[in-house]
Symmetry: C2
Subunit: 388 residues, 2 copies
DNA sequence: TCATATATCGGTAACGTTTGCGGATACGTT
DNA sequence: AACGTATCCGCAAACGTTACCGATATATGA
């Protein structure tokens, strides 16, 4: 019944174990091992063959190296053959296989970017800025978002690493305290540029906005408008932006002779849920703060909405200042005073920095920090004097 | 002066053509061809060697196939060797090379998505919804944005094709009239799911919101609030969303016995710049429309701002309804009435559809269209009756 | 006319991984 | 002891592309 595929004999066949669940046989005559595939082996859908360089080469009777050279403008090719090859490539709808290309060149011309979220316009703007620069330089951008989750962030970095990006732009999630997944890149000489959400525990290349200056100006502006009990709803303590904005807040108070009260400082986690809770805490305090400097605009907006719900007049009974100039800020109420960050510039600066690092001769360049200036946008939510 | 790298002789060297611009030599003694690199040839930084399967294999004295099988839980591996391999892989910080894997499997476990923009929250929300489903299924998402440019869109699709994505989610830019770059995917049996910005010129898999119904309800709502001269600032005529929203607008007017006036219908291009121009046109008309149904929220907001600047009272002198429920809509003025689209659901539905298509046995499944329902969110900008 | 220069092209190792096929060894049973 | 069976592992061919090394045929020069 079972016939040897080599010699055709039947009676010399004996069973010889299993291979991956399939019965294996041995022909004692010709000493040939063979197995018969299980009939129910499900074949994965075989993708239709895409035309390759080899197809073109065989079609024209030349070697694949000739085709490769012709397609890349190598000088060692006769103009006639080049023309024929390009024509045939177009006819066969040839699309180069970037995977094979990257594999042999060990360069993917791709940089990855990881952002904590992109539901506010802040990070998308940065991405657009970065993408513009990178596309210009012939690089692609793989965008991932961690959804403010450390685990997702680690998963994303692993995927980017497996896909062999040539560089990484990173802005970490608010609960990232371990940086091994980022250090894995630097261990492999893959440059990393951190932007916005950075930590000073890593002495590396960064692009940040001048959070300190922006915060200082914001609080000084509140003081100049007559507010004296200014609270701060901050961000996670491990992020540099939180630290810097807090520092600017404290220094501005001190510079104007106002006390820095611990009970007026709360560290949030940048989520709207927590913002609402902490805002409620502030508004129920006695004495109630007469102004709140929030770590970002969504938080500030929560404060404004809650204050409005409680019947507090803005800016007379409560001044509010946010951070980042979210598009909503211009439209809510009489406008939310906020500190504008140059998002497009941040993206462009980060992209330019990663381009430099990827082309650098040296293995490691000294860490560099680019700090872009912020700008105070004054709107109605803080203009107590003007509207009093 | 020139020494043979092999035998070290000098006088036997002769020139032998050029290789890529570099002088080529031949040692007549040992018949060795060699070239000397041009001194200004910029060496691309050689990436540090990343540990491969072969490294682990040589380190442990086994074959690379054994390592590969051990890492993938193949049964034919002794538990002890497997343990040793996994240990060593961890010690050497092995990261699999996805490129090589994809090359041999000809599957990348990656789907690409192309959106026209992501500065409003609309598309990011869809992306988040899609990503959640895809990550769950073990797929990665490569996000690209065309910036509403046909050329960029073509470039992005080419890049996704070169990177051999297994599937594509596409929402086309507003000036896309040629679909060859999308058809290139289907020609290669790479499934494509279009969402939101689709065209009926392609009879393929789609996920859309019920634009017609939403538009109908919006205009009916305006009529019920006493508006009679209702204009429509629409989108590009080639997009189905424009056509459907226009159709809903027209049908609602007709259903309530109102005339459909051509001068009350303008096709914009979804940009804010044009929106402002056309809004100005409407507001200067005589008789001036007493309500405008806008194709999306940014357009509607432009109308509101311009009306406010012209001293027109909303909703008394001008009713406005938008589309998509942008976050700003809830906060601007007394709120913008708008038609909410289930963005997360659209993303999830598109992702599920592409998953089905990628796993399908058949080469081509019959085109399917999923239509998700929309919802009218009534706010102040259209409540003439209630606020009169 | 002969030796060399040039222009064009081919052969073939890589790149890192998967996998079908085959074999060696050890184990178990009469 | 002899045979049948299990277990475990190696070899090598793909996947598609690039680039180094040569090999031709032709052109050029003395």
């Amino acid at each position: 019944m079972i016939k040897c595929p080599r010699c055709g004999q039947v009676e010399t066949i004996m069973k010889a174990g299993f291979v991956r669940g399939n019965q294996r046989f041995l022909c004692k005559d010709c000493q040939y091992y063979f197995t018969i595939a299980a009939p129910d082996a499900i074949k994965t859908k075989k993708r239709r063959h895409q035309t390759t360089i080899i197809d073109i080469a065989q079609d024209l009777g030349v070697s694949n190296s000739t085709v490769s050279r012709a397609l890349h403008g190598h000088p060692d090719i006769n103009p006639n053959t080049r023309k024929a090859i390009l024509e045939r490539a177009h006819e066969l709808d040839y699309q180069p296989n970037q995977l094979a290309h990257s594999l042999v060149k060990s360069r993917t011309n791709t940089v990855g970017i990881i952002v904590p979220e992109f539901l506010t316009q802040f990070f998308p703007n940065i991405i657009v800025g970065a993408q513009k620069v990178l596309i210009q330089a012939g690089f692609h951008l793989i965008i991932t978002q961690s959804d403010e989750s450390y685990e997702t962030e680690v998963g994303n970095t692993k995927a980017l690493l497996a896909n062999r990006v040539d560089g990484l732009l990173a802005s970490m999630s608010h609960d990232t305290n371990n940086y091994d997944h980022f250090l894995a890149f630097e261990k492999r000489d893959i440059p990393v540029v951190y932007f916005n959400r950075v930590t000073d525990e890593l002495g590396t290349h960064k692009v940040v906005a001048n959070d300190y200056q922006g915060a200082f100006w914001a609080v000084e502006h509140l003081i100049q408008n007559g507010y004296t009990r200014i609270a701060h709803l901050g961000g996670p303590p491990n992020l540099l932006i939180s630290q810097e904005r807090l520092r600017g807040y404290c220094d501005a108070l001190r510079a104007h002779g106002l006390p820095v009260l611990p009970e007026y400082i709360i560290h949030g986690d940048l989520t709207v849920q927590k913002a609402r809770i902490y805002a409620g805490y502030f508004l129920e305090m006695t004495p109630r703060p007469d102004a709140i400097f929030a770590v970002n605009d969504p938080t500030a907006i929560e404060i404004m909405l809650l204050a409005r719900a409680k019947g507090l007049a803005i800016p007379h009974e409560l001044g509010v200042v946010g951070f980042s100039d979210d598009p909503i800020a211009a439209h809510i109420g009489t406008g939310l005073t906020t500190v504008k960050q140059p998002t497009l510039d941040i993206g462009e600066a980060a992209a330019n920095m990663i381009l430099n690092l990827m082309q650098a001769e040296e293995k490691t360049l000294p860490p560099e920090t680019v700090m872009l200036s912020t700008e105070l946008i004054v709107r109605g939510s803080s203009l107590r004097q003007a509207t009093k």
